[in-house]
């Protein structure tokens, strides 16, 4: 287990196998950590209550109108005890996951919705309360990003990172599950930056704007909203696709945390302190 080149390692505690050599650095500042957790909570509540809201009418349309007798591009429903999802002309059997699961015939099963039993009214209360949390925290964080330089310094792609060959190299490294080590791990890597920028500058703004576009009062006051997205049913579709984007981001994000070392990653997003992974011997 513990190989003994102890003694030669400066300051290495006995039996620590040289782990002491890689320094602990202060990587994640307090505002970033606070926003991360507030945002994580609000995104989870909004995804789960959003799925309950979707259950009330599990069909999506493009255009300026869309109801049961019109043509949806996505349906999640059931025939008897068989759940299915219809996307365009394709149908996929989804019994046990979508359409029919846990003994109930709803698009999304009780395990993933807030509340777990059907209540559109309660789901809306959760959704719109946390919409404020999301909106306010995202606005403050955006202001912090601009003022503190976090955006320019840590998130924006450096000049050399913007080339196709550099990104391709980074994609290959990710595919081999080889994450940056040593000094290179001080900064976010390019794919990581793109994922975070996608959440901050695409998913969050678009999900908020399409959410507002579903409001008849805001539509009347700001007619450019439905115009921008091609109608309220289109905005609802895009809102759902953004939710899918958040779910995909969360899946990849959590996978990356597990692969990169969950203890170290969690420590850095809770306390800010991060141990640089030891330089890989080439």
């Amino acid at each position: 287990m513990a190989t003994h080149y102890a003694g030669s390692e400066a300051g290495g505690a006995e039996g620590k196998a040289g782990a002491g050599a890689s320094p602990l650095i202060y990587r994640t500042k307090l505002p970033v950590r606070i926003w991360h957790w507030i945002n994580a909570l609000s995104i989870f509540v909004m995804l789960m209550s959003g799925m309950m809201i979707f259950n009330a009418h599990p069909r999506l349309y493009w255009g300026v109108y869309g109801a049961n007798l019109d043509h949806p591009w996505l349906v999640i429903s059931h025939r008897g005890m068989h759940g299915y999802a219809q996307i365009g002309g394709f149908e996929i059997a989804t019994t046990g996951f979508l359409g029919y699961a846990q003994g109930v015939a709803y698009a999304f099963p009780p395990l993933v919705t807030i509340p777990s039993t059907y209540s559109l009214a309660d789901a809306r209360q959760w959704h719109f309360a946390f919409a404020w949390v999301l909106l306010i925290s995202a606005t403050l964080f955006m202001a912090y990003n601009l003022i503190s330089g976090h955006l320019r310094r840590d998130l924006a792609l450096k000049r050399e990172e913007r080339s196709i060959s550099h990104l391709w190299h980074d994609i290959k490294e990710h595919a081999r599950l080889r994450f940056p080590t040593g000094e290179a791990a001080r900064a976010y890597n390019p794919l990581q930056k793109i994922a975070y920028l996608g959440v901050l500058f695409v998913l969050i703004p678009v999900v908020i704007l399409t959410g507002c576009t579903m409001s008849p009062t805001l539509n009347a006051a700001f007619p450019w909203l439905p115009e921008l997205f091609g109608g309220r049913p289109s905005a609802r579709s895009i809102h759902f696709l953004c939710a899918f984007g958040f779910a995909a981001f969360i899946a990849v994000h959590l996978l990356a945390v597990v692969l990169a070392g969950p203890f170290n990653e969690l420590r850095s997003i809770i306390t800010g302190w991060y141990r640089l992974p030891k330089e890989r011997s080439k």
Binding site: R59, A67, L69, S116, L120, Q125, M214, P216
Partner: protein, 265 residues
């Protein structure tokens, strides 16, 4: 002795627990989690905390929007091919059936409450009153939208004719339909009541309202969701407070199903 009997009864039931499968354990764990979440959802203090969001939304929407802004109006070519019916589709009471059988010739609309001159209108009077026609989008709280043409008398016109007490804060719509013995009603504030697109519609898509769509008269309040668009309107009442009316929250869905009174989103 009874204790012994009990334990004897319990024992066999406990035995299968040794057969717990991973799947069952997982589902059991999930069940506990769900029960915990539902307890949070049912807690009155959580409910009142969440309702802060509702108040913020109502306040913010009134703050940032032009109170006279018109809902988008569409062209005929953009209308839904079929406008689906929703909610109650026939009040089905003997009184309503008798009115419908006579083509609503004996039907009257009452305008009363906090108004100096309470009024009654026959359907024929409403048909000849100044009217507004608008092609608008109906947005159901469930998520679907349908575009149709509505034609009727501006509500503000009737309210002004009846004269409105300055103490009146809300307009309540009493309807002929009910669900499970609970009467349908709705209410709006004066901002929406006097909005130019707020009409009591007698016609839909160029024809008199069908029973399914709320004959002979339904409310259109175009900047709010579908459940505010009360069908089968029999009486319009001006009030200072919603507290004394039915459940006190201003509508059937608000009283019995916890839907928001301000349905702006």
């Amino acid at each position: 002795m009874s204790k012994d009997n009990n334990s004897g009864l319990i024992m066999p039931a406990e035995r299968p627990s040794s057969l717990i499968t991973r799947r069952n354990a997982l589902m059991g764990g999930a069940g506990l989690l769900l029960a915990g979440c539902d307890q949070i959802n049912a807690s009155p203090s959580v409910k009142s905390l969440l309702s802060l969001g509702e108040k913020a939304t109502h306040g913010a929407q009134r703050l940032v929007t032009d109170r006279n802004a018109l809902a988008q109006e569409f062209s005929r070519s953009e209308m839904s091919p079929v406008f689906r019916q929703n909610g109650n589709q026939n009040p089905g009471t003997s009184e309503y059936n008798a009115l419908a059988a006579n083509n609503f010739a004996d039907w009257t609309l009452k305008v009363d409450g906090m108004v100096p001159n309470p009024l009654q209108f026959s359907l024929a009077q409403l048909m000849t009153a100044p009217r507004r026609t608008q092609i608008t989008r109906h947005d159901c709280v469930e998520g679907w939208s349908a575009i149709g043409e509505w034609s009727g008398v501006p509500l503000g016109l009737l309210l002004r004719r009846a004269g409105m007490s300055s103490n009146a804060k809300y307009v309540v719509f009493h309807c002929a339909d009910s669900t499970g013995g609970l009467p349908y009603y709705e209410s709006i504030d004066m901002i929406d009541a006097f909005h130019p697109q707020t009409i009591l519609a007698t016609h839909m898509n160029g024809a008199p309202l069908t029973v399914g769509h709320g004959a002979p008269l339904r409310l259109r309040v175009e900047r709010q969701l579908g459940y505010k668009q009360a069908k089968y309107v029999m009486r319009v009442e001006a009030v200072a407070s919603l507290a004394g009316i039915h459940g006190g929250k201003g509508g059937y869905w608000e009283d019995h199903r916890d839907y928001q009174w301000f349905a702006g989103i």
